[in-house]
Symmetry: C2
Subunit: 151 residues, 2 copies
DNA sequence: TTATTTAGGACTGAAATGGTCCGGTATCCG
DNA sequence: CGGATACCGGACCATTTCAGTCCTAAATAA
């Protein structure tokens, strides 16, 4: 179903919570309470987000996490990449030489294009966007895609 | 990594092979040979594609499969939907009431929009498109997305 | 009738996933 | 200084999902 993992989903929730108080440092327990996600899971997420460079961590008493950049500068694609690796619909779109049919497969080049399109769409939505309250009006830059002429 | 399943990947290959001879009926063994995908797997795929209404089947001697519609009218989104269910990045974008945080989650509406955008992008590419030989020139309707300013 | 070919479903082994926990280390504060 | 706080890295396990295979039944052509 082209679904992203539950962990990534929770990760977005945590990022949104962090974006709420962009300059405060919040610890894992705080965020767990704020989001309803289990504490150990929040910890795991924050570690990965930290490794991915999306949040900064501070150890010790009164330590915690905060966004490494303004929420406007962090895209959904960034979060996905940090939590489950870069977007790539098919194996062959990501790496060379893994598929035995690679040389004869006409599909491969197309997948790359589609890949880029989706990554682009996801890169156009920021964490700040996700945090806005009323999501019933389609986001402008993304909604345009569906209206293109094809198929 | 937002990957689609291997089965779906193979499914696209099989669909492309079927599109090669749009009006011929081809059996599973044929298609397995043409694509390099293992026969039992091809069978499984064809059954699902049949259930999804993308191919027509004929039983008995000289039976086999052929596309239910012109390859131009079958989109990648159709194939994905037939093989792994409709595109929905998150649980909450697909079904109501499964997430306990649903009522308070600001993200949900946004996911729906993003979902639709991606589904739209995938609906814009047909099996016939995938079957064209030279995929180094980006497909027009889709390529526009990636050029927008994101992250 | 017999050979062919799909339909439907059961089954298995392997891998990924979600979720938890622990020992270590850095930092703050009294 | 010493204790409490909080992150860091990694191991660990149960569960689910996934890919792939196989078998029996039903339908059709020759």
């Amino acid at each position: 179903m082209l679904r992203l993992s539950k962990l990534t989903d929770y990760g977005m929730v945590v990022m949104a919570a962090l974006a709420d108080a962009e300059d405060d440092t919040r610890n894992a327990a705080d965020l767990a309470a704020a989001t309803g996600v289990a504490l150990p899971t929040v910890r795991k997420l924050l570690k990965r987000l930290n490794r991915g460079g999306l949040v900064n961590s501070a150890r010790g008493a009164r330590g915690g996490y905060r966004l490494a950049r303004p929420a406007d500068d962090i895209s959904i694609a960034d979060v996905i990449a940090a939590l489950e690796g870069p977007v790539s619909l098919t194996e062959c779109a990501a790496h060379d030489g893994l598929c035995s049919m690679e040389s004869v497969c006409r599909l491969r080049g197309h997948w790359r294009v589609i890949n880029d399109a989706i990554r682009g769409a996801l890169a156009d939505v920021s964490v700040a966007d996700m945090n806005r309250p009323a999501p019933n009006i389609p986001l402008q830059p993304v909604a345009g895609i569906a209206s293109s002429p094809g198929s």
